[in-house]
């Protein structure tokens, strides 16, 4: 992973000192609420329903065990022993004291971590594929580019006060696991002949106006990445609306101008700065890549190791389930990636305790070269596990509550913190997740349903990505009461699509039953091995609507 040198450390320590000063000025009454709001948000600090919330940046989701242990310690010493993994591959603390935040930042800086630009109207933490570097379908490792983007965007003097927040995601694989089509900028690594480059998508996003991004360039040469991003953000900074925060995202500008005209303006701006200082040199690319080299893999006979694994699986059904759902192919023979599930029934999705953070660090050290990755679906990946040690890993993961074999199934839902924590929410989301987990607790049934993304948001800001869930649930407020709208047919993958609203909303108590009716219809209607999403695409919304809203008797 990327390691800081003295210059990174100097910049980060300057930031800690700057924020300490800003906090002191605020506490002394020298900074207004309004001014401090902007400054603290650019440092990931919210004032939430119950307490401040501090969002820590985990660049492209990558963490080492030292960092995990430090996060565990911070959650113990400064919080209530909990942390929350977010859909942007970050980590949040929900109960820190404002006065302690500068000390927390100093603790983070010691392990090369920070909270820079995890909120606010600036370029946010860049996200990527949690299987970067090991996925068999990878065109090139996205992490060197992500790190270059992190550095370019950190404290960017021109872009710290954009019209609205700005999110970039990079995918290096054929399968998009970074949801690039629902980002302000999606960067898809691609090849033309043998040259590496990027397809650039712009103007995707969720929130109250969900939009799928449009391609404005099919192939951007590798060296041009940063000048091109700078051109996009510059056009947006100048032309994006600032009169209405709900119309200020780049997606609205791209829609207003049309993607062709927006792209034309970007090209024009880029031509001016194309060969400027930010153009990536071969040395810079080589330097960035040098941080993401393969670990010291052992050489295995792939088929022998696979056979041994199958034997273990045959002897232990629970292990076999976990193997099927929670492990992933690796490009190196004899290795697999695994996902630790943070979604056992009754635990808010993405929540972990301080002990669990320490346990992830121990598991990473013991099984995966000391590294772990936070995923967009709020789980944790250990990327480099020897197949021969999966059984041992599974047993240990189970002890820590991480081995629920539900990855990719209905109960592995994305869920925002909702009304229990978030001051923006219209409705609670955690109890809805729990009610669905309790109702659909039969693993055989879940496996029979197959891959199914259920996403829950407590309000239209869509932190729970309900627009791109195969099934989406949106909390709405009706005259002070919480109701839930059901949407079907969304996807954040290559075939990105926005879910459509099924019909009138339901009370919280009705939601599990409604989900049950939707799933029953799917099971009735599906063709052999057809996924929920494919069945929906084939038969459309109407049959689901009829089934759910049919009058009893």
């Amino acid at each position: 992973m990327y390691r800081y040198d003295d210059r990174d450390r100097a910049i980060l320590n300057d930031r800690v000192a700057q924020f300490r000063g800003q906090t002191q000025r605020y506490l002394a009454g020298e900074l207004s609420e309004e001014q401090f709001l902007v400054l603290r948000l650019q440092n990931g600090l919210y004032i939430q329903r119950l307490a401040p919330m501090l969002r820590i940046a985990v660049p492209y989701g990558l963490l080492n065990s030292t960092q995990l242990r430090r996060l565990a310690r911070i959650s113990r010493d400064y919080d209530k022993g909990y942390a929350h993994f977010t859909t942007r591959q970050n980590l949040q603390f929900n109960w820190p004291h404002l006065e302690d935040v500068p000390d927390i930042l100093a603790e983070l800086a010691e392990v090369e971590m920070h909270a820079v630009q995890t909120s606010g109207n600036c370029i946010r933490n860049t996200t990527s594929d949690p299987f970067a570097g090991i996925a068999p379908d990878e065109i090139a490792d996205p992490r060197p580019y992500c790190e270059l983007i992190r550095q370019w965007s950190s404290f960017h003097p021109e872009f710290a006060f954009l019209p609205r927040k700005f999110k970039i995601a990079v995918s290096g694989s054929q399968q998009d696991r970074a949801a690039i089509r629902v980002h302000d900028i999606g960067v898809q690594i691609t090849k033309r002949d043998s040259d590496l480059g990027f397809q650039i998508l712009v103007g995707g996003g969720q929130g109250r106006t969900p939009v799928i991004a449009e391609t404005i360039r099919d192939f951007l040469p590798e060296a041009d990445l940063l000048p091109y991003l700078e051109a996009i953000v510059r056009v947006y900074n100048r032309l994006g609306r600032r009169d209405n925060k709900y119309k200020a995202r780049i997606k609205i500008l791209v829609k207003a101008l049309g993607p062709e005209e927006f792209g034309r303006r970007v090209e024009e701006e880029w031509q001016q700065g194309k060969d400027g200082a930010e153009k990536l040199t071969p040395q810079a690319l080589q330097w960035a890549r040098s941080f993401f080299t393969a670990p010291a893999y052992k050489t295995f006979d792939g088929s022998a190791s696979e056979a041994a694994l199958q034997q273990q699986a045959e002897g232990d059904r629970a292990f076999a389930r976990w193997l099927e759902r929670n492990t992933y192919c690796h490009r190196v023979a004899g290795y697999r990636a695994i996902k630790l599930s943070t979604k056992p029934t009754g635990v808010p999705p993405g929540d972990v305790t301080d002990r669990q953070l320490d346990a992830i660090a121990d598991l990473a050290d013991a099984f995966s070269f000391g590294e772990a990755r936070v995923t967009h679906d709020q789980n944790v990946v250990l990327a480099d596990v020897e197949q021969g040690r999966l059984y041992a890993l599974w047993q240990q993961a189970r002890q820590h509550g991480f081995a629920t074999p539900n990855i990719g199934t209905l109960t592995d839902m994305i869920c925002c913190p909702g009304g229990d924590y978030c001051s923006l929410a219209n409705a609670k989301s955690i109890p809805v997740a729990e009610a669905i987990q309790r109702r659909f607790d039969d693993m055989d049934y879940l496996y029979d349903l197959g891959d199914l993304n259920l996403n829950i948001s407590g309000c239209m800001n869509a932190c729970g990505h309900h627009h791109v869930g195969h099934i989406g649930i949106l909390g709405v407020d009706k005259k002070g009461q919480e109701f839930y709208q059901i949407q079907l047919g969304g996807s954040a993958a290559n075939d990105a699509s926005l879910a459509r609203v099924l019909g009138p909303s339901f009370s919280r108590a009705e939601v599990p039953e409604v989900i049950g009716k939707i799933l029953d219809l799917y099971v009735q209607q599906r063709r052999t091995a057809e996924s929920f999403l494919d069945t929906y695409k084939r038969i459309g919304l109407q049959p689901f609507k009829e089934s759910v809203y049919a009058k009893a008797g």
Partner: protein, 180 residues
């Protein structure tokens, strides 16, 4: 974006400001925008900063005084509205109607890097102390601060960061080029 019908908050013109790191008396008089069609009364002598529209209308007539005629740009008036003429300007002020309106950062950078502006680049309006480093890095060298804090206390904020990752007007090479 369409220009608002009503003029927004106008930039102030404090008596002292920070120029090139020093606290100095303000030698320029900044004229506010007037309603469309009207021309402000331009003082017969002395250094004066005109709103863009008046500057465009009158700068030829004022050629003899070109050393004492500056111009200020509102946040929706980009650097290209002055363009190549920037190189002959002694002073350009960029208005920040609110600290959250970040368009002026781009304007400053383009004036310096694209249009060859070498004169005094002055930030005016509602920016805040914590933006001084960013302003400096975007090419501003003068800060007409309107806040309550004494100017002497702002000085340190010009250098909140001792180094930077990306290129700026102050540092033409990004860190990845300087590292190797």
């Amino acid at each position: 974006m369409p220009k608002p019908a009503k003029p927004g908050p106008q930039p102030g013109n404090p008596s002292e400001l920070i120029i090139d790191g020093e606290i100095l008396p303000n030698q320029w008089r900044l004229l506010a925008q007037t309603a469309a069609g009207e021309s402000p009364d331009i003082p017969a002598a002395g250094k004066v900063i005109l709103p863009l529209r008046q500057w465009q209308a009158q700068r030829r007539a004022l050629t003899a005084r070109s050393d004492e005629i500056g111009v200020w740009l509102d946040s929706d008036e980009g650097a290209e509205s002055i363009g190549a003429a920037a190189a002959q300007c002694p002073l350009i002020a960029v208005h920040f109607p609110a600290f959250a309106d970040g368009r002026g950062f781009t304007t400053g950078r383009l004036l310096r890097e694209r249009f060859g502006f070498k004169g005094e680049l002055r930030a005016v309006g509602g920016f805040m102390r914590d933006q001084l480093t960013y302003l400096r890095r975007c090419g501003f060298n003068a800060y007409a601060f309107e806040g309550d804090e004494p100017l002497a206390s702002l000085h340190d904020s010009l250098h909140d960061f001792s180094d930077s990752y990306q290129a700026g007007v102050d540092q033409p090479l990004p860190l990845f080029r300087r590292r190797l």
